[in-house]
Amino acid sequence: MAVATARPEDGEPLLAFSSRTVDLTMAFGETASQEVRLVGKLAGAASLRVVTVNPPGPDVAILSAEADKPAGVRVSDVGRRVGYEAGQVTFATGVDDPKELTLLYSRKVPGNLTVDPTNPYLDLRAPEPGVVVRVTSSRKDFQLTRAEILDGPFSARVERAPSGGYAVHVTPAKSAGREGQGEPGPDSQRGFLGKLRLVSNDPAEPNKDLPLFALGPLPRR
């Protein structure tokens, strides 16, 4: 069993990392790294080896013991994508107990765009169902070129927002509505997935995809 730390309930741990997590924050395209060292009664006896990096991505280097520091690891990563990703690295320790240690890592890359809501939701039982996605940027030269529906029974329209930025109006596609009059049938489909793509001149996120979800029956055409 891989364990995050091997700690007696009281007192010094047998073997653990000095931090349970490595949380890297970097600008898009930049690199960040963090070192953690072993602590505990067995820190001097351990010999670390990477077993798995899941999901793959960060570089993990084993650091030898130094005069005043026990062995440890350095986790480095590049800000390839805007957003947050998390994973874990499992190490063999070379000692009998614990045989493995797991270190959590995360990568956070802030972007320029602010999108609200981030996960648009449509109530299809509303008289005129739809949601407005507000899109702004920290960059003064920001231009939202277009909004595309990549998937799902939706349509999207872009407007300049009076308060700045853009307003993307997402509604059920006219062609997707159900036919007939009155209440929908008892077994009509009541939930719909989709994907909205925002195409802009943002260097970090020229194509930003948002998940769409709608609950209820499609309105009549």
Partner: protein, 284 residues
């Protein structure tokens, strides 16, 4: 009742590996709930901790029933996550995601409601080895969601509401990548339809909605030990529902919407009567 409902909640994910097959049979063509969206509560951390060697974790309010020595999710829950995540919890997420993909397919929507009371692993000082840090809680959560998404791209996710989170959960939610969630959700117990507070003396609906930035999936009707408390008629009142819609609630599920005088079919009739008086959900 089926013409009146858009979603439903089954047994909870983690309780039985047969769950996916039974749920997917219901929503398949010819099934009783064809076309409806399953809103599935995922309680894998707790379910796996109940029988894990050396843990025997009951719910925090279950008085350690059957566990000796005494242990529960408020004493060893965080330790169970740290020690069992890679070997048990994450593989169980993968297993359930694969099963739902196998039986339901990967195109019809599924709402996956993450880990009721997840907050208790972060905020409870009695956690042996210390409670999860915010960074740990966010990391584990993100890994669980990624595991499901890998096999079930048709899942949308909901973050749990623990109505006792201080400050309506503002600080709690700030730990997480909230772009992973479409909703937040109450889970288990009862909720107040006729109050600004989710439960008496606890957080408000509006406050939780503001802090998370997400629409709320409300549930009600759970009694002692997860049993049914029957129909919660307060949620059949259009005035109450409209007040909660204004607070960010977009749905209500009732565990067992019947009582001595109301059948499920009659409940459907009630929903049909009040629906014309229910306001639209605002854009979120």
């Amino acid at each position: 009742v089926t013409s009146q409902i858009d979603m439903f909640t089954s047994g909870w994910i983690g309780s039985s590996t047969g769950l996916a097959q039974s749920v997917c049979k219901e929503i398949a063509s010819g099934g009783a709930l064809h076309g409806k969206v399953p809103a599935l509560v995922s309680y894998i951390i707790a379910f796996t901790g109940r029988n894990a060697p050396g843990y025997c974790l009951s719910d925090c309010n279950a008085n350690n029933a059957g566990c000796s020595p005494a242990s529960d999710l408020c004493t060893k829950g965080a330790a169970w996550i740290r020690n069992g995540f890679t070997s048990t919890i994450l593989p169980m997420y993968v297993q359930y995601a694969k099963l739902f993909a196998q039986y339901c397919g990967t195109t019809t929507p599924i709402i996956w409601e993450m880990e009721p009371d997840y907050y208790q692993y972060f905020a409870t000082s009695t956690q042996q080895g210390g409670p999860l840090t915010g960074a740990e809680a966010a990391n584990y959560m993100s890994q669980m969601i990624a595991a499901v998404k890998q096999y079930l791209p048709n899942a949308v996710f909901s973050m749990d509401i623990s109505p006792w989170e201080p400050g309506n959960g503002c600080n709690w939610y700030s730990n997480f990548d909230m772009t992973e969630f479409t909703f937040t959700a109450t889970s288990g117990g009862g909720t107040l339809a006729n109050s600004a507070n989710i439960r008496s003396g606890q957080n408000t609906w509006a406050g939780q909605h503001t802090c998370s930035g997400k629409p709320i999936l409300a549930d009600t009707g759970y009694g002692a030990a997860g049993g049914s408390a029957g129909l919660d008629t307060a949620w059949d009142d259009a005035t109450n529902i409209n007040a909660r819609i204004a607070n960010g609630v977009v749905s209500i599920t009732q565990y067992n919407p019947t009582n001595s005088s109301t059948t499920v079919a009659q409940w459907g009739g009630i929903l049909g009567q009040i629906r014309p008086n229910i306001n639209s959900v605002p854009c979120y």
